[in-house]
């Protein structure tokens, strides 16, 4: 599935919720079910330092597609990471680079993407895109 389609699917899922509590409960569930990053990749090199919660991201190229695994010590952050990974993992680097993150607004989580929010998620998206740039260059070489 293309990134755009996955994002539409996520928007559909979130449209079922009436209030913030249901959205948060769903995110918390997503966070709990996120396949964890392999412990060996939970290194300081892979850490994205937000002010308050730690986020680790690891990327690997499989069949010219980028596969992301990640973890966080905060569960709500983890839920949002799970959503991002679902949208961006297993995609071609160029497609990741071209994709936008508008869908986060549409599922009512805009507040988490504000650059002033101290949760490191903006840095996380930047990091996903940086991995995409790096691997895109590798493919072109």
């Amino acid at each position: 599935m293309e990134i755009k389609e996955i994002q539409e699917e996520i928007i559909d899922e979130f449209s079922m919720f009436d209030d913030w509590m249901q959205r948060y409960e769903y995110m918390i569930d997503l966070g709990k079910s996120l396949p964890l990053i392999n412990e060996e990749f939970k290194t300081d090199d892979n850490i994205i330092k937000g002010c308050q919660s730690k986020v680790w991201v690891h990327a690997e190229l499989e069949d010219n597609k980028l596969v992301f695994t990640a973890d966080s010590d905060a569960i709500i952050t983890k839920g949002i990471i799970a959503i991002l990974i679902r949208a961006f993992s297993n995609q071609k680097p160029q497609d990741i680079l071209d994709a936008d993150t508008q869908f986060i607004d549409e599922i009512g989580l805009k507040e988490h993407l504000s650059p002033t929010r101290a949760n490191g998620l903006v840095s996380m998206i930047k990091q996903l895109k940086l991995y995409a740039v790096a691997y895109q260059t590798q493919i072109e070489d």
């Binding site: 913030w20 509590m21 948060y24 409960e25 918390i28 002010c51 308050q52 919660s53 730690k54 010590d73 905060a74 569960i75 709500i76 952050t77 101290a118 949760n119």
Partner: protein, 404 residues
């Protein structure tokens, strides 16, 4: 008895809603809210006598200068400083500490020792580390116990004739501990060391008498005592302020300038380069008037009741642990619930209209000491109520059921 209902009427912001819920503001240790009386002073300044001070011959400038200098005298009286020129207006506690640290760079030599406490805010650690890097002085740390109290026995062992400076907060921002600063000051003086006390967290709860304390430097920020942000004060004993070189060069701080040589202005202007936060200084004075009209004894008594009630109610929650259980503490409760990251707790509480601080509270060494990533911190002011404590407790329980 404080009439809390009437006091709350003074604070327009307390009427607003957040995320569709009435605001419960429990982040007072970060910044306090501003009463209408202080807001009116700010508006009055910009509507009626906004002008640069100490320079103009015109009426507005004279009026602004008079009010600004009156504010300095209010601050002097509040802290019982001997002279009004021992009160330096700064942009806040961080600025004050940097001013002193920078000045000491020329008074400290390689191998000298400076002592800091283990429960400092980063703003009372980093400037001194920078000082040590520049001068080759050595930084020593007074450790604390698990209750969050300073180990005074170790402090005594750290003091010696190489100790030049001791700096410590009056009250810890992360734990609420009231430190025994009288003893800290007295013992430091015995070895000839100067003492700087960071009063940022103490100023909203009690009045520090700088002469009775015999402290060398004392500092606080206006925005934690119902005043505006970007404004604060540094008290320094006259003899120390005369010894320290100016921090910043510029207008206002000079006596005479030629390209060959500049002579500096007298105290306090020597440390007040450039156009200051005039409105902020005047509003700082108004905030002290407001707090004093309510009365610090009453405030302390009421906040202590809130602290005891909140502690008792929060501890009923299974798995909740409070960090900072000193016998002598102010209305700050730092806590975690086993298995829940403070960031998650804070996010859910925010959705419920409850403002708390989460994270390391700019005091990472304390978090490292307790081996935690941070805490949730609820800090109470005299305008908070027991009903708000109940809302907090209900919110924590709700967040807990969602997150675990």
């Amino acid at each position: 008895m404080l009439d809390i209902k009437k006091i709350r009427e003074d604070f327009p912001i307390l009427k607003r809603e957040v995320n569709g819920k009435p605001l419960v503001y429990l982040d007072n240790a970060a910044t306090s809210q501003t009463p209408q009386q202080v807001i009116d002073v700010i508006v009055d300044y910009y509507q009626n006598y906004n002008a640069n001070i100490h320079r103009g011959v015109h009426t507005l400038s004279q009026e602004a200068t008079d009010k600004y200098e009156q504010a300095r005298i209010k601050i002097q009286k509040h802290f019982n400083a001997a002279k009004s020129y021992e009160i330096i207006f700064t942009s806040g506690t961080t600025h004050s500490i940097n001013l002193v640290a920078n000045g000491f760079a020329s008074l400290i030599n390689k191998g000298d020792e400076v002592i800091v406490s283990a429960m400092e805010h980063h703003s009372n650690i980093v400037p001194w580390q920078m000082l040590c890097e520049r001068t080759g002085a050595i930084l020593k740390v007074i450790p604390m116990n698990l209750e969050g109290e300073l180990r005074m026995d170790v402090y005594e062992e750290l003091l010696n004739d190489k100790t030049k400076l001791v700096f410590c907060n009056h009250i810890s921002n992360a734990l609420g501990t009231i430190n025994p600063i009288e003893e800290i000051i007295e013992k430091a003086h015995k070895v000839g060391a100067a003492v700087l006390i960071d009063g940022a967290q103490a100023a909203p709860h009690l009045i520090a008498d700088v002469q009775a304390l015999n402290v060398d430097f004392y500092t606080c920020s206006a925005h934690k005592i119902c005043g505006p942000t970007g404004e604060g004060m540094l008290y320094g004993k006259e003899e120390w302020l005369n010894k320290l070189p100016p921090y910043q060069g510029g207008g206002e701080m000079i006596a005479e300038v030629t390209f060959e040589k500049t002579t500096y202005a007298d105290l306090p202007h020597k440390f007040e380069a450039g156009t200051p936060n005039i409105c902020g200084g005047i509003a700082f004075g108004a905030a002290l008037d407001y707090m004093n009209a309510i009365g610090f004894d009453e405030i302390a008594k009421y906040e202590h009741e809130l602290l005891e009630y909140a502690t008792q109610e929060l501890l009923k929650i299974d798995g909740l642990k409070i960090y900072g259980t000193a016998k002598n503490k102010t209305s700050v409760i730092s806590f975690n619930i086993e298995g829940i990251h403070p960031y998650d707790m804070g996010s859910i509480l925010d959705k419920l209209g409850i403002a708390v601080r989460t994270g390391h509270h700019c005091a990472q060494p304390i978090m490292d000491f307790f081996k935690i990533p941070g805490t949730v911190r609820a800090s109470f002011a005299f305008y908070n109520t027991k009903e708000e404590v109940d809302v907090l407790v209900a919110g924590v329980l709700r967040a807990k059921s969602m997150l675990l």
